[in-house]
Symmetry: C2
Subunit: 587 residues, 2 copies
C-alpha cells in the first residue's frame, strides 16, 4: 500500500508533469525522494550515497531536457533511483508491496527512459559518444548527455571515451558528477586535477578537460536546484562537446552517509534511527574472514605481501589491512586493468602481490591477466570473490571466471571445498614463486574441514572411492556432490566422490583409473558450463567409453532471479541431479 499518498511525487507520472512545478514544489519533491530512498534502503538495502547526492541534478535534468527523446546515460546507473521515480516508477518506492517491481539499475526492459542495462563503471561517455555519432549520421537533433561520477573517471574506458568525445562535431554533454568519492575514497592524479578545479571555482588553468579541447563549465553546488536548472539550460542544444563539472555531496540528507561514505555507498537493510544494519552478522569464520586472516598472517611473517584491489575493499573486508598495514595495501581506484598490470610490475621486482578481484569486474582485466601475466608466466596470486551463481542483476553475474581463468595457459585456478583447504591453497600460492595462481573463493558456505597442507604443483584428486558413478564436485559444489552421493546410495549406487581442487588442470591418472570400474563421470561446478570445467572432463573422456554429464549453469544471463530458481531451471538440486544420473544409467 502506498505509504505516502499525500506526496507530490504521486502526481509525477513522467517528466512532463515535472515541468509544471514551481521551484519550491521541486524542492519539496527532492525531500520526498530522499525520504523514499532512505525508507526503501532501510527495508531492503540498496545503493544509498550516490542516489542521495544526485537528487537535485536529476530533477533539474528532467525539468530542462525532454527525455526520452533527449537521452541521458547514467554511468554504472547506481544513482538512478531519483531518475526512476521521476519517470513513472515512483510506485517502486512509495509502496512497499511494489518494492520488487523496480530494478536497481537502468533497465530498458523496464522503461523507455532507460537505454542500457549497466552495472560496470566508466561506460557512459563511450556510449554517449557512439549515440551522438549515430544521431548525426541519421540527421537527428536530440541532446545526448552522459553523467559520470569522479570515481568512474579513473576507469580506462572513461578516458578512452573522453578522448573520442573531445573530437565529436555535434551536441554532446558530459556531466562530471564530482562527489570526491568512488565506492571508497577516490584515488590518484584525477583527484588532484578535480580538486584544483573545485578549489578555483572551475577557473584553474590546469584543466585536463580544456587541455583535451572540451568546452567546460563548473557548478560549485550541484545540490542547488536553481543552479543546476540554470546550468542545464545553458548547455541544452549546445552544438559541440562540453564538460559540465558539478560538485555534489554524496549521501546528502542523511548524516551517517556523509560521515562515512564508503559504508553507505551500498547498504544492507538497516535501522533508520540507529543506522545499524538489521541483518545478522555472517557466521565466522567464513571465506572472507579466512582470506583476511591469511593476508595478516603472511604480512606479520614479514613476507613482502601487497594486497591489491580496485576500489572494492568492502567486498573483501580489506579495511583491516588498509588500516593496520598501509604499506602492504594498494587500492588502484576503479581500474581493474591497472590492478593487474601494477601487480605484474611488483611481482617482477620480488614482491608477492595478492589481487583481490570480484568475478564480474575481473572481466575488465582479461587482457592483462592473459598478455601481461600469463604470457610472462609470473607468480601473481589472485583471490576471486563471487565467482558462482548469485541472485544478482545480469550486469553483475560472476559465472564466467572458470571460463576465463582456467583457459589461459600457465594459470592455475584452485577451488577449495573447505576453509582449511582455502588456507592450504593460499599458503601454497604465496610460497610457490613459479606460476600465476588464482583461488575461487567459495560462494556458498563451506565447512571448516580438516587441516590440509598440500603442494598443488601437480593436481592429485581426493577420492572417496566407490564404483560405477564418479561425482566430481568442484569447489563449493563439492557439498552438492555429497548430497547427490547420498541420494544415489538409496538406489544402491555406491558412487565415488571426488574433490578435483583445480578448475584448470585435470588429474589425468585419477581420471584414467576411474575407467576400470566406472561407467559415468558427473561434474558439478558453480559456473557457466560454457568453456568451463565440465567440458574439459567431457573432452578428456571423449575418445573413451566413459560417459560424462556436466552440471552447471547454461549459457544465459539471469536477472535478479533467486538462486533457488536458477538452480532448479539448471537441474542443480540434488534430487534433479540424481534423477538425471539414474536416467542416463538406465537408458
Amino acid at each position: 500500500m502506498n505509504q505516502h499518498p499525500d506526496y507530490l511525487l504521486n502526481k509525477i507520472s513522467s517528466p512532463k508533469d515535472l515541468k509544471k512545478l514551481s521551484l519550491a514544489q521541486m524542492e519539496q519533491l527532492a525531500q520526498e525522494i530522499r525520504t523514499l530512498i532512505l525508507e526503501k534502503d532501510a527495508a531492503e538495502g540498496g545503493h544509498l550515497g550516490p542516489d542521495l547526492g544526485i537528487v537535485e541534478a536529476t530533477i533539474a535534468y528532467h525539468y530542462v531536457f525532454d527525455a526520452p527523446k533527449d537521452k541521458i546515460i547514467w554511468d554504472v546507473s547506481h544513482q538512478t533511483y531519483p531518475h526512476k521515480m521521476l519517470t513513472g516508477r515512483a510506485y517502486g518506492w512509495l509502496d512497499p508491496d511494489r518494492y520488487e517491481d523496480v530494478t536497481p539499475y537502468t533497465n530498458p526492459e523496464e522503461s523507455p527512459y532507460d537505454y542500457y542495462a549497466v552495472g560496470h563503471t566508466s561506460t557512459s561517455v563511450a556510449l554517449a559518444t557512439g549515440m551522438a555519432k549515430a544521431r548525426d549520421m541519421l540527421g537527428k537533433h536530440e541532446n545526448i548527455t552522459a553523467l559520470i561520477g569522479d570515481g568512474s573517471l579513473t576507469g580506462g574506458l572513461a578516458f578512452e571515451g573522453f578522448n573520442n568525445a573531445a573530437i565529436e562535431k555535434g551536441n554532446l554533454i558530459i556531466v562530471v558528477n564530482d562527489n570526491q568519492m568512488s565506492i571508497d575514497k577516490n584515488i590518484g592524479g584525477v583527484v588532484t586535477a578535480l580538486k584544483k578545479l573545485r578549489d578555483s571555482n572551475g577557473q584553474s588553468p590546469d584543466n585536463p578537460f580544456t587541455a583535451m579541447g572540451f568546452d567546460y563549465k563548473y557548478v560549485s553546488d550541484g545540490n542547488n536546484l536553481q543552479d543546476m536548472i540554470s546550468a542545464f539550460r545553458a548547455v541544452k542544444d549546445i552544438n559541440h562537446p562540453i564538460v559540465l563539472h558539478i560538485n555534489t555531496l554524496k549521501g546528502k540528507g542523511y548524516q551517517p552517509a556523509i560521515d562515512n561514505e564508503e559504508a553507505h555507498h551500498w547498504v544492507l537493510p538497516f535501522d533508520l534511527k540507529t543506522d545499524k544494519t538489521t541483518v545478522p552478522a555472517p557466521k565466522t569464520p567464513n571465506a572472507t574472514t579466512t582470506v583476511i586472516d591469511l593476508l595478516e598472517k603472511h604480512i606479520k611473517n614479514n613476507e613482502k605481501i601487497l594486497a591489491i584491489n580496485a576500489a572494492i575493499p568492502g567486498v573483501f573486508g580489506l579495511d583491516v589491512i588498509k588500516n593496520k598495514y598501509p604499506e602492504n595495501y594498494k587500492d588502484v581506484g576503479i581500474a581493474e586493468q591497472e590492478s593487474v598490470t601494477f601487480a605484474v610490475g611488483a611481482v617482477k621486482e620480488g614482491i608477492v602481490p595478492i589481487l583481490l578481484e570480484n568475478s564480474t569486474f575481473l572481466q575488465r582485466a582479461y587482457d592483462q591477466l592473459s598478455h601481461d601475466v600469463a604470457a610472462n608466466d609470473l607468480p601473481v596470486v589472485m583471490v576471486v570473490a563471487n565467482g558462482g551463481i548469485t541472485g544478482g542483476s545480469k550486469t553483475h553475474l560472476g559465472i564466467f571466471d572458470n571460463t576465463m581463468i582456467a583457459n589461459w595457459p600457465n594459470w592455475e585456478y584452485l577451488a577449495p571445498t573447505t576453509l582449511n583447504e582455502l588456507k592450504s591453497m593460499f599458503d601454497w600460492a604465496v610460497k610457490q614463486r613459479k606460476h600465476p595462481v588464482a583461488i575461487k573463493s567459495p560462494v556458498t558456505p563451506v565447512p571448516e574441514g580438516e587441516v590440509v597442507d598440500e603442494d598443488y604443483s601437480t593436481i592429485h584428486y581426493d577420492i572417496k572411492r566407490g564404483k560405477q558413478v564418479a561425482i566430481i564436485g568442484l569447489g563449493d559444489f563439492y557439498q552438492l556432490g555429497e548430497k547427490v552421493r547420498k541420494l544415489l546410495a538409496d538406489h544402491s549406487i555406491n558412487a565415488s566422490l571426488i574433490n578435483p581442487k583445480s578448475a584448470a588442470h585435470l588429474d589425468v591418472e585419477a581420471l584414467n583409473d576411474l575407467k576400470k570400474d566406472h561407467e559415468l563421470v558427473v561434474t558439478l561446478e558453480n559456473n557457466s558450463l560454457a568453456g568451463g570445467f565440465g567440458e574439459k572432463v567431457a573432452s578428456f573422456y571423449g575418445p573413451s567409453d566413459m560417459k560424462v554429464m556436466t552440471f552447471g549453469e547454461k549459457r544465459e544471463y539471469t536477472d535478479l532471479e533467486s538462486v533457488a530458481s536458477i538452480y532448479k531451471r539448471n537441474h542443480l538440486t540434488p534430487d534433479q541431479i540424481s534423477k538425471d544420473i539414474l536416467d542416463v544409467l538406465h537408458q
Copy 2:
C-alpha cells in the same frame, strides 16, 4: 657473416662500453643503428618508423642510466631494436645469418636488459608504477623509467597507469615519446593536449600532466642526442614522479617513412632503392578484400553502416573505406574498449556498427563485449582477423577468440569455410537486427566456393554424409577435414564431413542424428582447444555412446614457432589426425 666489421657498434657489448664514447662517436653510432634497422627490415620486414625515431633517446638513456640495475619499460616494445643493439645483441642486425637470433619485442629470456614480453600497448606506466612501489617496499634505489608513445597514451590502461603513477612517492620517470602518430594518425583529445604543449615549447598551462600532479619537462627535439643526454641527466635519481615529454620524428633518417608513416610503422621486406615491397601481393579475392567489398556494398546500398576499428586500419585494408566513405568510418585510436562501447551506443540509435578487430587485441574488450554488448543483447557485428594459429610472438597470439566469443550468452560466432560463405554470413549479420554476431575471418586461405544465401538464426549443419566417423571442420579447418576424409577413404572408411558454421551454437538435431550410424565424431578448430568448440561437442555427446576426439591447439603459448611446427606438435596434419582416428577406432 658480419656485414659491417668496421662499425663502432661492434665494440659495444653492453651500455658500459657506450659510456666511454664521445658525443661524435655516439652520433656515428646513431647512423650505424639506422642503417642496420633499414638493412634488416628491407631483408626481413619488421617495425621501422618507431625504431628510427627512438635512436637518440635510446643511446642517451643507456649513456646516462645504469641498466639493468636502472630499469626501462618500453611500451609495446616495438621500438627496441636500438635498445637491443646497445645491450649485447647487435649481432642480430650486423650478421644476416643471425637475423633470427634476436626477437622483435622485449624478451626477458633473451636478455637481462628486457623485463617483460610485451606486444600489446599502454602497459608500461602501470608496470613501472608497480615496480617503483616494489622497489620502495624492498628499500632499493634504482631508477624506474617507462617510455610510452603518444599513440599508446590513448589506451585506457595507460591512463589508469598515469592516475596511479601521479601519487607514487618515489622515483618514477615517464618518458612520453611524442611522434604524433600511433600506427595510423593519432586520434582524439590527447592529440589536442599534446599539440598545445609542443606548440608552446612545453609552457602551455593547459597541461594534463601537471593537472594530475606530475612534475613535467619538455624536450623540443628528442632526436638531438645532446639534448636527450641533458634531459636524462636532469631527471636521473629524481625523488618523485615526473613526465619527460620528448618530441621525436617517427621514421627519422628514411624519407619514405616520414612521408608515409602509417605504411612504414611495420613493413614487409622491401627494396631500399625503390621502397617497394619485395613480397608478391596476396592473391585476390581473399578474406580481407572480401570484407572490404562487403562493407562497400552495404554502404553504397545506403544502409547506415559504420566501420569501426582501433588504430589498425592496415590489418583490414580499411584505407579504402576511410578515404571513400569517411562518414561511415571511425577509428577510435588504440582503445579497443572504446571501439566496442562506442559501437553499442551507435547500434542502440539505429546504426549498424561493424567492428573490425584483431583476435589478440580483442582481449582488451572482453568486458565490453560481455557486459555492454551481450548482457544488452544488441546487434553489433564484428569481424575477427587473425583468429587462428600463426607463427607470431607469444604476445600476439590469436587462438583464444572461440574461447571468448563462443562462451558469452547471446553472441553468435560464425566461421566461414569459403569466401562466398563469408559473404553470406556477413550479409545476414548486417541484416538481422536481433543479436550480436561475430565472424571469424579465415586465417588459412579458403576457396571462393559456391554462392550461398543463408539465414543463420538457427544453425543447420551442411553434411557430406558418410558413416562410422564424422569430421566436423570449423571455418578454415574444413579443408583440413576434407584431407582427413580422403586419407580415411584409403582405409575404407567413408567418413561424414560437416561444416558446422558456428563456434557458438550446435545443430543438436544433426548431432543426434549422427548417433544412428556413427561411432566417432572428430572436431577440428583453428583455436586453442581449452574452452573452444570441440569441448562443446564432447560435452554434448558426454552422456551418450558416441566417442569424440577434439583437434586444435593445446593450452600453450608459442613464440615465433613456425605454423608447420605448431601443427605437428599438436597433431594437426592430415596424416596425424587420420592415424589418431584409426587408433581410436581400433582400440
